[in-house]
């Protein structure tokens, strides 16, 4: 009730988002109080955390100030695999109302659980995510993140309903139908992976639609994979929408850990629920604000599965300047800001990061690769050369051919182009300063 009144009065201010503007000293107090509680919870209820803390000689009582989080041991993804499925749960199953799991392309999946209160917190951080990107009641939101065990679809879903917008739970895939729904249902906002939206822009074009004229979409939140400023520029120019970056990971909560506001300059971390640190990935020592390092997250309010000092493997930095939007919660830099050389092949815009995303769907770590563009009798060809590593290698030819097919298939899924995938020996892709040149365009060499 109050919310509706506020919306009518202010138009832009929502009570859930009030926490984004909490005075900094009050925020640190809340964080410290919650850090103490979550450390005690993890110590008392989760064997892994207790053993690690005992091994380091740390007791929950040693956490007296926020910086004391550095006394605590780290957790990594393998800890979730090793304790599969419920080993990190801190509550009995009778308290767990929701489970999600990773797709588990490499070995066992990881399983995460939520209590009713965790679900409420998750909904609220997604609401804050959406408000920050300018969503509100009255929006018709096409949620194209996958529904099911993946946290993306259902995570966004709860928050979209939470803000009172209309959610279309369409999930991913079937691109032509997505465009039809987007047009016929009068969709005003979307959520999906950035590569998928780039793909949809191409599909709309093929269907003869002008994204800006024929569709009503005004904004989108994009995440679940790294994307570059060039990709954002392309999305915004080609479709006329505003594209916002969102960040999260299943191990912590799913989407809803951090999100861009309309200033689009870094992602605000919902710090009352997530304590972030940036550490040097080699020494694991804290780096000063503003300097790059690995993002480490401690959940401050999770009940079902508290996670202490989780190493995300994502490289970012804490922004030191205050944001123009006035939010007091701090920002992290976009996870992937390296430059990207987009190329156009057969009329389709392709970003090397899309190829990377596709390769990572098949392999746990990114292999060295190179995109070679060439022209044969007037037709453009895209060849992806991938260096084979010992981990990718099988003694069976059929499996190696299967690997080639899987690469080719996931690239086709993301770009709608059928590439030629060539497996090459390690070290055969030329590198300059240790980095491989990603795109080689030979289309002008032939007549």
């Amino acid at each position: 009730m109050i919310r509706n009144l506020w919306n009518d009065l202010e138009g832009t201010f929502f009570p859930e988002s009030a926490l984004d503007y909490m005075p900094a000293d009050r925020l640190r107090e809340v964080q410290l109080q919650r850090l103490k509680a979550v450390t005690a919870l993890a110590y008392e209820r989760v064997a892994l955390f207790r053993q690690r803390m005992e091994a380091k000689g740390v007791k929950p009582g040693d956490v007296q100030k926020l910086e004391d989080v550095r006394l605590l041991p780290f957790a990594i993804k393998n800890d979730l695999r090793d304790t599969y499925p419920y080993g990190l749960f801190a509550v009995p199953m009778s308290e767990v109302v929701r489970l999600h799991a990773s797709s588990g392309t490499t070995g066992k999946p990881i399983v995460v659980g939520y209590t009713a209160q965790d679900m409420e917190v998750w909904k609220q951080v997604i609401m804050r995510t959406l408000y920050a990107a300018g969503y509100s009641r009255g929006d018709v939101v096409q949620n194209m993140f996958g529904y099911g065990l993946f946290t993306g679809g259902l995570g966004l879903h709860g928050g979209i309903e939470g803000i009172g917008a209309t959610v279309i739970p369409i999930s991913g895939g079937n691109s032509e139908r997505q465009i039809m729904v987007m047009k016929d249902f009068g969709v005003t906002a979307v959520s999906c992976t950035p590569s998928y939206f780039i793909h949809l822009i191409e599909v709309a074009g093929k269907l003869g639609l002008d994204f800006k004229r024929d569709l009503k979409v005004k904004r989108g939140v994009f995440g679940a994979e790294p994307w570059t400023d060039q990709m954002r520029q392309y999305i915004e120019t080609a479709s006329g929408i505003k594209a916002y970056d969102i960040y999260g990971l299943s191990e912590i909560v799913g989407p809803g850990v951090a999100a861009e506001c309309q200033c689009q300059s870094g992602l605000h971390v919902f710090e009352d629920h997530f304590l972030v640190e940036i550490v040097d990935p080699k020494t694991l020592e804290a780096v000063p604000d503003g300097e790059e390092g690995e993002l480490v997250i401690t959940t401050l309010s999770k009940q079902a599965m508290p996670v202490i000092r989780y190493r995300t493997r994502d490289i970012t930095a804490i922004e030191t300047r205050p944001c123009a939007c006035g939010r007091s919660i701090r920002r992290i830099r976009r996870i992937n800001r390296r430059s990207d050389d987009m190329f156009i092949i057969r009329g389709v815009n392709v970003f090397p990061s899309q190829i990377e995303t596709a390769l990572l769907k098949t392999e746990a770590s990114l292999p060295h690769y190179q995109i070679v563009l060439s022209r044969k009798s007037g037709l453009d060809r895209m060849e992806i050369r991938v260096e084979v590593t010992g981990e990718m290698l099988s003694d069976r030819l059929s499996e190696m051919e299967g690997l080639q097919r899987r690469f080719s298939h996931s690239i086709e899924q993301i770009t709608s182009l059928h590439p030629e995938v060539t497996l090459v020996q390690p070290g055969t892709i030329p590198r300059s300063e240790g980095k491989a040149k990603r795109v080689v365009d030979r289309r002008n060499e032939s007549v």
């Binding site: 010992g390 990718m392 290698l393 003694d395 030819l397 190696m400 051919e401 060539t422 020996q425 390690p426």
Partner: protein, 150 residues
């Protein structure tokens, strides 16, 4: 019972195989047998050597992608129908052969063949129950000098 086989990824280009063989020769790695399986674009060189740990090190250090798998070496009677009699045992247990090749050595009047099965453990059990000779590493390499030159 099982023997370690090293598979090396090679592009199908002139000189690639000889470069690898030269690397192994220079390091004094003695090859007991090898076979090349290939598609149009790439090949898998599978080799067996008495000193597989060192061979793997040498291959990796030279920058090749390689992987170690276990295979078995079977005694196959060197007469018409010799191989068929071995395969029959597998067929009876619905076991499938992933691939096989001859070992460059004979024992008495019999041939030695290297097999890779889908289900190695079940295959081994079935073969032994049927009385097919399975070589141990020591049978194959024992009488030969280990890698020379070091």
């Amino acid at each position: 019972m099982k023997i370690r086989q090293i598979s090396v990824f090679l592009e199908n280009r002139p000189g690639r195989l000889s470069a690898l063989c030269r690397t192994l020769a220079d390091a004094g790695v003695n090859l007991s047998t090898l076979t090349l399986a290939e598609t149009g674009e790439f090949g898998l060189l599978r080799l067996i050597t008495p000193d597989s740990d060192r061979a793997k090190q040498v291959i990796e250090k030279a920058g090749y992608a390689s992987t170690v798998t276990e295979v078995v070496a079977l005694q196959v009677p060197d007469r018409p129908g010799g191989l068929a009699s071995v395969l029959q045992v597998l067929e009876a247990h619905s076991l499938s052969v992933e691939y096989m090749y001859a070992f460059a050595m004979r024992t008495g009047g019999d041939a030695v063949m290297v097999f890779r099965f889908d289900d190695m453990d079940r295959a081994l059990a079935a073969l032994q129950a049927a009385g097919v000779g399975v070589f141990k590493a020591v049978d194959l390499f024992g009488k030969r000098p280990l890698a020379n030159g070091h």
